[in-house]
C-alpha cells in the first residue's frame, strides 16, 4: 500500500467521520501523524463557515506553522492553543495563538478553549482538535486527564462543537487512554491497510 493511497484514504474517510459524529477519536501510528494533520487542516480549510480551535500538546505552534504554512497561514478561522512552547523555553508570540505555560494546566486550557469558542459566529460549524490526548497523558496524572476529557466531551456536546482527539499509538502507554477513546462517538484506527 503506497503512502499516497493511504493519504487519499484518509482524505476520504476522516472528514466524513468528523462531520457525521460529535466526537471522534483517531488512533494512529507516528508515521502517519503528519498526514493526519494535513488532512485535518485541508478539511478545515474547505469549510469557509467553520471555526476551529487546534490544541497542540505535541509540537510548538511555530513548528506547525513552518510545516503547514501554505495550508494554514491565511485561515483566520483556525485559532491555536499551544501547550508546549513555553515549557520548552520558546517565548515567541503570535496573535493567532494562545500560549499556555504548561500542559499540566488543564483548567487553564479548558478556560482558553471556552473563551476562543465565544468568539465564533453562532451560525458557524465549530471544531475542536486535541493533538494529542496521548501526549496529555504523558504530562498529567491519568485521573486528571480523564476528568478533563469528560469535561471537554460535555462542553463540546452542549455547544454543538465537533471534537477530534488524536491518539498516537507509540504514546498509548496507558489503559486509561483506551477507556477514554471508547467514549467517543466514532473511533478511526489508522493502520497500513486502512482502505
Amino acid at each position: 500500500m503506497t503512502v499516497s493511497s493511504i493519504v487519499e484514504g484518509l482524505r476520504e474517510r476522516i472528514p466524513k467521520s468528523i462531520m457525521m459524529n460529535q466526537t471522534v477519536g483517531i488512533i494512529l501510528p507516528d508515521k502517519y501523524y503528519r498526514d493526519i494533520k494535513q488532512v485535518i487542516f485541508e478539511f478545515l480549510n474547505s469549510k469557509s463557515d467553520s471555526f476551529a480551535v487546534y490544541v497542540t500538546i505535541t509540537r510548538p505552534y511555530h513548528t506547525i506553522l513552518n510545516e503547514f504554512g501554505d495550508l494554514i497561514a491565511n485561515n483566520k478561522n483556525i485559532r491555536y492553543v499551544d501547550c508546549v512552547s513555553r515549557i520548552a523555553g520558546i517565548s515567541k508570540m503570535d496573535p493567532n495563538c494562545i500560549f499556555i505555560e504548561s500542559p499540566t494546566m488543564l483548567e487553564k486550557l479548558g478556560l482558553e478553549i471556552n473563551n476562543l469558542f465565544r468568539e465564533a459566529d453562532e451560525k458557524s460549524s465549530k471544531y475542536l482538535i486535541i493533538d494529542s490526548l496521548s501526549t496529555l497523558m504523558v504530562y498529567n496524572d491519568p485521573e486528571i486527564v480523564t476528568k478533563f476529557f469528560y469535561y471537554l466531551i460535555n462542553v463540546t456536546r452542549a455547544k454543538d462543537i465537533h471534537s477530534v482527539y488524536l491518539v498516537i499509538e507509540e504514546e498509548e502507554a496507558d489503559k486509561q487512554i483506551k477507556k477514554l477513546i471508547n467514549l467517543t462517538d466514532k473511533i478511526e484506527k489508522i493502520v497500513d491497510s486502512f482502505i
Partner: protein, 255 residues
C-alpha cells in the same frame, strides 16, 4: 428597592459571569463580604473588578486602601482591560487612601482608642452617604483591625460599619489577609462571624504549578455553590473562574 435591584431580585451582580452563577445571580444587596486570602491570591483585583463592573452600570463605588499607596494601586490595575481610568476621573469610582484620612483626623497611626475608631467609622459612613455609594471596598480590614486594640472593638467596628452600609443598600467587600495554605478566614477569628459572606481565595499546588483557587464559603441570603474553582487573573478578562478538576488534598488523603 430601586428598579435595578428589583430587576435583579435584590441581588448585586458582580459582573464576573461565573461568580454570579455560583451565587445564584449575585450578592444580596447591602451584604458585607469578607474576601480572604494570602498574599498574591487576587483579593485586590477581585475587589477592584467588582467596583469597576458596578460603575459601568452607573453604581458609584469607593475603594479605601490602607495596604497600598494609591499610585501603586492604579499602576497595577492599569494592566487590566477592565480598568477604565475614565470611571475614576468621572467620580463613579473613588480611590481613597485611609491612612491620609486617619492623619487628617489626627488619629494615632499605631493604635486607635474607642473614640478614634468611632471617628473613623463616622467618616467612612459620611463618605459613603455623601457619594451615594452602592459598592464599597476596604483593602484590607486586617490592616485596619490591627489598629483596634481589643476583639470587642473589632467586632463592634465591623458590625456598625456593616449595619450602616446595609441601610444605605451598599454592598461591601472587606479584604482579609491570612497566612498561605492555612484554612483560616481572618487574623483575629472575628471578622468572618460578623460578615454576611466569605469568599476564600486559596492556593493549590499541582505538578509545580501554584494555582489560585476560589470558593464561596458563606453568603447569607443566597443559594450559592460551595464548589472550589480555579481562579485565573487575565489582563483581558480580569478574574476568570473554572471548576477545579482535582484537589491535591484529596490525593494526599489517598496516600
Amino acid at each position: 428597592m430601586s428598579n435595578a435591584e428589583l430587576k435583579n431580585n435584590g441581588l448585586c451582580n458582580t459582573g464576573i459571569e461565573t461568580l454570579d452563577e455560583i451565587l445564584g445571580g449575585g450578592i444580596p444587596v447591602g451584604s458585607t463580604v469578607l474576601v480572604t486570602g494570602s498574599s498574591g491570591s487576587g483579593k485586590t483585583t477581585l475587589c477592584m473588578q467588582f467596583l469597576i463592573n458596578g460603575a459601568k452600570k452607573g453604581e458609584r463605588g469607593v475603594f479605601f486602601t490602607i495596604t497600598e499607596p494609591l499610585f501603586k494601586l492604579t499602576k497595577n490595575m492599569e494592566s487590566f482591560d477592565f480598568y477604565d481610568k475614565k470611571l475614576i476621573e468621572s467620580g463613579l469610582v473613588n480611590l481613597i487612601d485611609l491612612r491620609i484620612i486617619s492623619e487628617r483626623l489626627g488619629l494615632d497611626t499605631e493604635k486607635y482608642t474607642v473614640e478614634d475608631a468611632s471617628a473613623l467609622l463616622d467618616i467612612l459612613k459620611d463618605i459613603a452617604d455623601e457619594l451615594n455609594v452602592k459598592r464599597l471596598v476596604i483593602d484590607s480590614i486586617t490592616a485596619l483591625c490591627y489598629r483596634l486594640q481589643t476583639p470587642e472593638m473589632i467586632r463592634d467596628f465591623i458590625f456598625k460599619l456593616g449595619s450602616s452600609l446595609a441601610a444605605m443598600k451598599c454592598t461591601t467587600f472587606l479584604t482579609s489577609e491570612v497566612p498561605p495554605q492555612k484554612f483560616k478566614y481572618s487574623k483575629n477569628d472575628i471578622e468572618e462571624f460578623i460578615s454576611d459572606g466569605i469568599i476564600f481565595l486559596g492556593d493549590e499546588e499541582r505538578e509545580g504549578d501554584l494555582m489560585r483557587t476560589f470558593q464561596v464559603v458563606k453568603m447569607r441570603g443566597a443559594a450559592h455553590s460551595r464548589i472550589k474553582y480555579m481562579m485565573y487573573l487575565s489582563t483581558k478578562n480580569g478574574v476568570e473562574l473554572t471548576p477545579l478538576l482535582s484537589s491535591t488534598s484529596k490525593i494526599k488523603s489517598k496516600e
